[in-house]
Symmetry: C2
DNA sequence: CTTTACCAGTATCAGTTTGCAACTGGTTGC
DNA sequence: GCAACCAGTTGCAAACTGATACTGGTAAAG
């Protein structure tokens, strides 16, 4: 109600919505890790979010229309969180942030490989990945023709696992 | 020293650096408003940042190498803040955030017009603007040939002023 | 040369947010 | 029917935020 905006600038408004240390990480985990349940987001979080913060951020992401919620028919207690179109369209923001972080910050190899590929892939790859997200989160048929090879999501995941495996072998 | 990272993920690391409600607004004002002095950033801030927060954020932006500081020869007390290459390369992040905010949030017309143009202009326009920023902040000669028309920065500013003028006339 | 305006911050302190840890109330699988 | 799992909620100390006042100095005007 009394939530007054500091200004009507699009950058400011975006920051008021997702400009904190956790919201975009939740979106990231839903996008790239396909975490859809509260417990998944909680326990598989690389950064170790705490449950009250997760609950609070999910509430605002829901209020903002960035994610949606639905019953999980397989389990009376479970709910499924999905990205909305608005949430899916945060991908380019995340991709640019990932690219910048990869270039300038002290990124670990296994967690940086996705950023590298996504950055090299550019807007075309992002659009393809967003189409895949529309399929898994919105239940939409893909507009774009399915490419011959594996999905963008699968390629990113495979590249990540390859690095993890190599590092494990090296010890 | 004891500043431990939550994870080595590029998105997380980026958020740890600029994932708060003010840092990117300071960068925005330096980029699009050419605010270079403390007082300019303080008093011309659309959102009304307070001096302690501004001082604190400038300190971390300096620590992170996103902005640099130099004496202003014209005034013994003034310093000039400039964007580094690393800071200039935050432009695509800001542009994507601006585009998303413009599309989904309650942006005012005069503050949204730059976002609209920048979004429509795409990566090519961003690259051109970044070259202009390298000129004004790094003192570099432009690599790209100077286009016939006015600068991107000038075009954005002119579009903003046009909207302001029209709204003033209307009432 | 002295008064006023401007400059870059710092200090203080109340209010808010964060985040760990423990807990609630329920469901599912064995 | 009992252990494990589910989605959160609660309590509380510590950290962070932000409005306001203030410091110590420089520049410009009269």
């Amino acid at each position: 109600m009394t939530e007054q905006k500091r200004s009507g600038c699009p950058i400011n408004l975006t920051l008021e919505v997702v400009g904190d240390k956790w919201s975009l990480l939740i979106v990231r985990d839903m996008m790239f890790g396909n975490r859809r349940h509260f417990r998944e987001l909680l326990t598989k979080s690389e950064e170790g979010i705490s449950s009250n913060i997760l609950a609070d951020r999910l509430k605002t992401l829901l209020d903002q229309g960035i994610v949606t919620w639905a019953d999980d028919p397989s389990h009376k207690q479970k709910g499924i969180y999905s990205l909305s179109e608005q949430g899916i369209e945060l991908l380019p923001v995340l991709a640019q942030m990932a690219g910048w972080g990869f270039k300038y910050l002290d990124v670990t190899e296994e967690l940086g490989i996705r950023a590298k590929l996504l950055s090299e892939g550019g807007p075309k790859m992002w659009a393809e990945f967003m189409d895949e997200l529309r399929e898994t989160h919105l239940g939409m048929r893909r507009r774009r023709k399915r490419k011959a090879g594996p999905d963008v999501g699968e390629r990113l995941q495979a590249a990540y696992e390859k690095v993890v495996a190599r590092k494990a072998k090296q010890g």
